[in-house]
Assembly symmetry: C2
């Protein structure tokens, strides 16, 4: 393949997007069903191809965590199919009349949701992003260009070929779903140049990948940066619930963006709660790093440095700080946090109100694990990621996050005075 | 002033934004009323200061068009005050519950509109942007940093001081509205560095200004690029209406982004309509440039070149093309247009449907002048501009365009399995 082929892929996507835009919800849902059927028909091929790539990754000395993320077993494959079915069941994000108005002269104006157009997905190893992203894009009437990690290229190609076949059976254009098959950074570089054809890029992966893409393109980027997530245990926090929520937020999975990184404990309940928390986290193999005040109650743990407060560990480490009341907790979160997911444990409605109003984060959790912030629990069915941007889409990015709108003004020869 | 003062302005805006976020709609509306009152009290000072700056601009040999844009007379001042009052009357864009959901485990999730935070407005001469932008920002609970053109610096300073005094009377923070008083490009350059404090930049002015800003900052930018606007006269277009709409779209004001630049005439009505159009445009002093087919009917006009189809003239020139049916019109618009405002003249519902679905533009006008695309006629009260972006906000940018949302999830000890 030569350089022009990436441009050709992008151009074909733009044409496909134009054909896709008027497709009805029924047709898009039919396509999602046919995509799932076509995938089911190549299950054995997907698993075999993936097993080969997993073996190669192992042989190349990749970490067990990376190999795990690369692997599709039967359970994972079922999950991927179920997400396609789930996204089809969502309400149509398109052609909603978002607002309307008749002006004094009788001009009728309305604002209607429409697809963004062409979405470029650039992601690392996890092959389930291939089916998730295609599902969300088709549901929202967008054409998608997929660019997964090289280590999953064959798996992603088999998945994509099946999805394309399914979509075509339902009457969608051939190029509604495309994959970049050329490995290497150069192909990504060319993709970043296609601002004429691509409406938005969504990179999924490490901070450095996202930064490299955001800085290397004129195409708008929906960014998924880190989650430095906090949980604030208010003075009245009920001990059992507080411990369970803190442990679940941190330990249910440590390597994910909505895992807890800093625990804020109100000074009024610190003496009561910290020993219980220490015991629970120790049992779960978590290393605690405390502020000066915390160390007075838990002298056995390590001291947190300034750097700890702005660290996304993605590891079994948790920083702990005692705060003098809710305002200090909110100020700490707004200063050190990443605006991803932050929670409070309390029974006080007025504390909840203050926390919810003042914490400037995509997700505010009240008496709920930070791990519950995400598309599934928010009713979005399937998502392409969790945006840390404030513009356009914030938090989980489902089908609605991939729409824009147009204004339609209907007159009868209306002129401007 | 030194370099750190721009950072200090930005930092103060961030703090003000945090205080402003919980302000009620009543309080924000009161502030808008007090701002208008305070402006009214300094009317004479505004007009005198502006007259000095207008005289300076004239003496410096500025064009009459530029001087006109700079001038505030009593009528313009009344208009500026009326816009502040109008924006106050709009529904509250904040704290709307945009969507909600209870998940099977009983976690209650809702999505609530909130301010973006800190808005940076960078604009050229027109001083009415100062009051319009402040009005839209305060209505939507955002802090704003204003940076107008050097030629209007004193006028803008008087306007801003009055608005700040009014806002403070209503209990809003002192730094909710700020202006950069240091002239020169360097101050703008420093503003572009404040990604730690500023959430979005909105440049208003020429294409080169917008491009320079978009490329020189990591802060998200809401862009206002050119309008290469089209009007398509379908085969059934009623001659009187078609001519009136074409003339109004082009001639009501030629120097604005929603003025007509290319007229598309269906081949079936070209022989009937073109002579009428030629006559009307000639009367209005408009130069026509036609495609080959047009020249066969109007041999007296100039020939359009390929460059004409992608030109935003902002001048009394209009390119004219005969198209073989609606699909060709749509394809021309999607290829050469800028996605700003494009219209159709027809009585056919099915043509309207096709045009509305397939034209990929922020505003689609049906039997209405392209000049009617904008915040006033769309019921937005007051706007900070007309976005040509597809992400976040498209078309006129009113208070709602300056909001984002947060997700709030309320549980009762809900954990992730």
């Amino acid at each position: 393949m030569n350089s022009s082929s990436i441009t050709e892929i992008a151009r074909q996507s733009r044409l496909a997007a134009r054909q896709l835009a008027p497709a009805s919800d029924a047709q898009r849902n039919l396509a999602l069903a046919k995509m799932a059927e076509a995938l089911q028909a190549v299950r054995a091929q997907v698993l075999a191809t993936n097993a080969e790539e997993v073996a190669k990754a192992r042989a190349a000395g990749q970490t067990e965590a990376m190999v795990k993320r690369l692997t599709i077993d039967d359970k994972m494959f079922d999950y991927m199919l179920s997400r396609l079915k789930k996204v089809a069941q969502l309400p149509d994000p398109l052609n909603r009349i978002l607002t309307g108005h008749t002006n004094p002269a009788g001009l009728r104006v309305y604002k209607k949701s429409v697809p963004l157009g062409v979405i470029g997905m650039i992601y690392e190893s996890r092959p389930n992003v291939t089916t998730d992203a295609a599902g969300v894009c088709i549901k929202s009437g967008n054409a998608v260009i997929l660019r997964g990690g090289s280590e999953a290229l064959q798996t992603n190609a088999v998945l994509t070929d099946a999805m394309v076949a399914g979509a075509v059976v339902a009457g969608l254009p051939q190029h509604a779903i495309q994959i970049v098959r050329r490995p290497g950074h150069e192909a990504v570089g060319e993709l970043l140049q296609q601002d004429q054809y691509i409406d938005v890029l969504i990179p999924r992966g490490g901070k450095s990948l996202i930064k490299r893409i955001a800085e290397g393109t004129r195409i708008p980027v929906i960014k998924h940066y880190d989650g430095i997530c906090h949980l604030y245990l208010a003075a009245d926090a009920e001990p059992d619930k507080a411990v369970a929520l803190a442990v679940n937020s941190k330990c249910q999975s440590v390597q994910v963006c909505n895992a807890l990184e800093t625990l804020l404990v109100d000074a009024e309940c610190a003496e009561r709660l910290l020993p219980l928390l220490d015991e629970a986290f120790t049992e779960n193999g978590i290393e605690l790093r405390g502020c000066e005040e915390t160390l007075k109650i838990l002298p056995g743990i390590a001291a947190a440095t300034e750097e700890d407060w702005s660290s996304e560990y993605l590891a079994p480490i948790l920083s702990v700080k005692i705060v003098a009341g809710i305002q200090q907790a909110i100020d700490h979160i707004n200063h050190y946090g990443s605006g991803h997911t932050d929670g409070i444990v309390t029974q006080s409605l007025s504390l909840v109100r203050q926390f919810e109003e003042q914490v400037d984060s995509a997700s505010v959790m009240v008496n709920a694990s930070t791990r519950l912030s995400g598309g599934g629990d928010y009713g979005l069915g399937s998502v392409v990621g969790i945006s840390t941007d404030k513009l356009h889409v914030r938090g989980p990015v489902g089908p609605e996050g991939l729409t824009t709108y147009k204004w339609v003004a209907v007159g009868d020869g209306h002129l401007r005075d």
